[in-house]
Subunit: 373 residues, 3 copies
């Protein structure tokens, strides 16, 4: 079919300008796609090996009437503490200290009411959770007795984040990527002899690209949200580090690109947003009796995502790219012709000329086909 | 070669029906593959950003002779407790309370026997683990003395899962996906003003697709296994959420698809199945002496896997798809011919006709192009 | 363009041998690429489902002057303990026992000096972390008073790894892979009736491929590093398990391949290497006063990465591969011609012969090709 259209090139001069405008657009787009966007001449490596270590810095003091003074340092507010790629920072919490397992008079939950023990099936869990019915109905209160950790959790979430200071904590993200196929590896941390640099510096896209230290407040801000709002109910933030390396160029041009998004909601809707969970600390008194402190923590979950690919010139994909390029050229042109022929009302002259050409073409090209098979 | 077959279309009518059956099958398959399966006319986006938060609900009471009453709520039986994408639920356990570090008479393990201290190399670990030899041979028992946490772990795993009630616990999976390229995002949680909905509802493929609350027993059942069996030794379950979105259609047609598989074994073999690990809780008595409780927990590991891609019409891939479609058409036909010619015993008439055609073919092919469009 | 070269085939016999050498290289390479490397005739499945469970074995005794005897078993030195795919082994640590929250005289950090309370803004965090200023300047020492956990952490890291014995710990990696599309699944653990095998054996590429038990020291060694060096400051190691399965062959030929790399540094540079974090254990005394032990642990982070794909014969990709193969053949040949024509100084005879051909071809196709190159 290439013949077809290239002949139209030659013969149907009248259409040429008009058609070429159309066609050249598509063709150029196609070529751009194959050669520029897809870098068709390169062998690509997407299976990168990567390691991420995170470390938080910062400390804050909370002082609640019930539970007194708390000093929150990284080993407390980072969960888990072991420098993972995905971690959670406490920004708000409800503490319920000195819970002991015992019989509790249950009167807050709907399925607590009872006339007789019959209403309190033994071993049945309370819908609201937290407890198991003992099977006894307390006539005094007309509610079932339950086995639970008493006192029950204070249910009121602070409306102001108790760790509002967390806005100024800093996240240090050490990322190391390796492209095994090309035996190329690089880190996002500046290789410097100045040991104090990483203590002082703070990330800046222009001036400090290789200082991977981020203020929590900034990261949240870059996602288009406000830290103090987010800190109350919590949320989930994604930090994407992209390594797109053209290894035909110098290694110094293979740089990390950071982007920040809020993962748990879209701008307009907050129905499903928020992040919280509970954890406990268990103690034993001198009699060996177990008691515990229950924490319900709200906070921000950070997910460091690494994404990378590298490309390097290689003859085989080049040939293929050229090939598909050629094919595209023809196909693109061919499609344009079709469009021109059938979808646009072009001059009947053009139409008939076309067919005349087709007929006229009854003697070519086949040579090429025979051997090919 | 295209010519070739299209001529057979024209000339060798005798074969036509027979061949076309074969060919049309393949060709149709090829076209389906390119256009329907691969949606060749769409620009695709597979690099989705996703966030997952999980929360378990349910509480159960265990009562063992040695260790008394235990109330298991989510903060205890979910490990880690922080709402991860991969989490473990305790369904069975061995508790060894009040272990203290001390000298223990070792007599259970094979390498414990000794005639003299010479047999008990100091600092050598006991093969079975749990202890380090002190270098002393106790003549009384004829075994090495070891440094270990005493008492040693009770080695008998309960044959009935202690947390059999876990079957009725519920998993709430909040998943949020975003396709950055198309600026499209969606959650698997119903956007409703009815706050109680998510408290009452339970997932159903038909009626409650957007209620991501699953009964643990059901999830295990859907993998083709029985919860109570699995609960004894533990296991590993994968929950796959797939988002395949054709964004040319309405957003309401982009829905999550859930699938459930057991990851740690195939149906017929259980040799390598099971999931258990140990963790400890450390305490100090009033003298500052450390003691601990050792838990060996068996349970089910849930791995929430998100998988998604979106497609949207775009002119460039369309052209390419049409092109490859055309190519396939020809190639497919060509291959069929080859098959017919050489792999099938077709009439010698057909064979010679073919070759005659080939020679005779020095003047066509365009014909083949016309119809092809 | 195909015409071109096939004509040269026919007409320019003189060049044929020479050219074919060149061309056949490229073509062979191309075909190899499509059929052998890419296994073009197979339908591929890369979305594997995989489960990993890890378990460590080994125990060691540490004896520090300050903190006395410590017995480290898996539940202590593996963080997190729950058999994850990514886990950390403690090889070195700094223990700071019996910290209590209180007012501490701060004199180690630069911003501690003060003339008056004015220099000690209340609530301000100390740059070095660990504390919050109380707002009081202690004239005695001329430093700010801070709220912190006292005593502060001993800052000296042991120069010899305290858990040097960790070199002999063993890692058991149970991996299970499933290719849903082909309903094929396999494990890296030998299916044997001999229960003791997995207790005795140790991985060997030749003799014990299906014994996934690795000595920590060996794994580090295989990355090209020395365990005792790495153990001091810690590091990050990647264990890659690859499953490349040609399911047209027997299942027994689908075997795991292990490879080991250090992820946190390249051979020559150790600037950014190391892995450490802090965690705490909280206690309460008989008065309910909280105190804690702070651990700063150095160690090795293992990241078990699973990578796999399977292929099985399928007619559709086969047809496509043959097609692209044919295309490549032509294109490859075409490219070779171009190289021969324009980039190499071939005999002018050849050159003119070429053009003669080209001219001769002016009523085919070539027109289109000339410009195209």
């Amino acid at each position: 079919m290439l013949v077809l259209l290239h002949h139209t090139h030659v013969d149907t001069r009248s259409q040429k300008p008009k058609k070429n405008i159309m066609r050249s657009d598509v063709l150029h787009e196609c070529h751009r796609w194959v050669f520029v966007v897809k870098k068709g001449y390169q062998e690509r490596e997407e299976a990168i090996q990567t390691s991420v270590i995170t470390k938080l810095k910062g400390v804050t003091l909370t002082n609640s009437s019930e539970t007194g003074l708390h000093l929150w340092s990284a080993e407390d507010y980072v969960i888990p503490p072991n420098g993972e790629q995905v971690f959670f920072i406490v920004t708000n919490y409800i503490e319920t200290p000195n819970q002991r397992l015992g019989n509790l008079i249950m009167n807050c939950v709907p399925d607590g009411q009872c006339q007789s023990d019959y209403d309190c099936a033994e071993g049945e869990a309370v819908i609201a959770g937290h407890g198991i019915k003992t099977g006894v109905c307390l006539n005094s209160t007309g509610t079932c007795e339950i086995n639970a950790w008493c006192p029950v959790e204070y249910s009121s979430r602070p409306t102001e984040p108790l760790l509002s200071e967390a806005e100024n904590f800093t996240i240090y993200i050490k990322n190391f990527v390796r492209f095994p196929k090309f035996e190329f590896s690089k880190s996002n941390v500046l290789e410097t002899s100045d040991d104090t640099y990483l203590k002082r510096c703070s990330y800046d896209r222009e001036t400090h690209l290789y200082c991977p230290i981020f203020r929590v407040g900034d990261v949240v801000h870059w996602t288009g949200h406000d830290f103090q709002d987010m800190a109350v109910k919590g949320g989930s933030v994604g930090v994407l580090i992209e390594w797109n390396c053209d290894l035909d160029k110098d290694a110094s041009e293979c740089n990390p690109q950071y982007s920040f998004t809020r993962l748990d909601m879209n701008q307009n809707n907050s129905a499903t947003s928020g992040y919280n969970f509970r954890y406990t600390r268990y103690y034993k008194d001198q009699n060996g009796e177990t008691y515990r402190t229950l924490y319900k923590v709200y906070g921000i979950r950070f997910d460091i995502m690494i994404n990378g690919q590298a490309g390097k010139f290689n003859i085989v994909p080049t040939i293929i790219a050229i090939g598909s390029g050629i094919a595209l050229w023809g196909i693109g042109a061919f499609v344009c012709d079709m469009i021109l022929l059938y979808m646009m009302n072009t001059s009947s002259y053009y139409r008939e000329k076309k067919f005349e050409i087709i007929n006229f073409k009854y003697d070519q090209q086949i040579v090429t086909m025979g051997p090919k098979c």
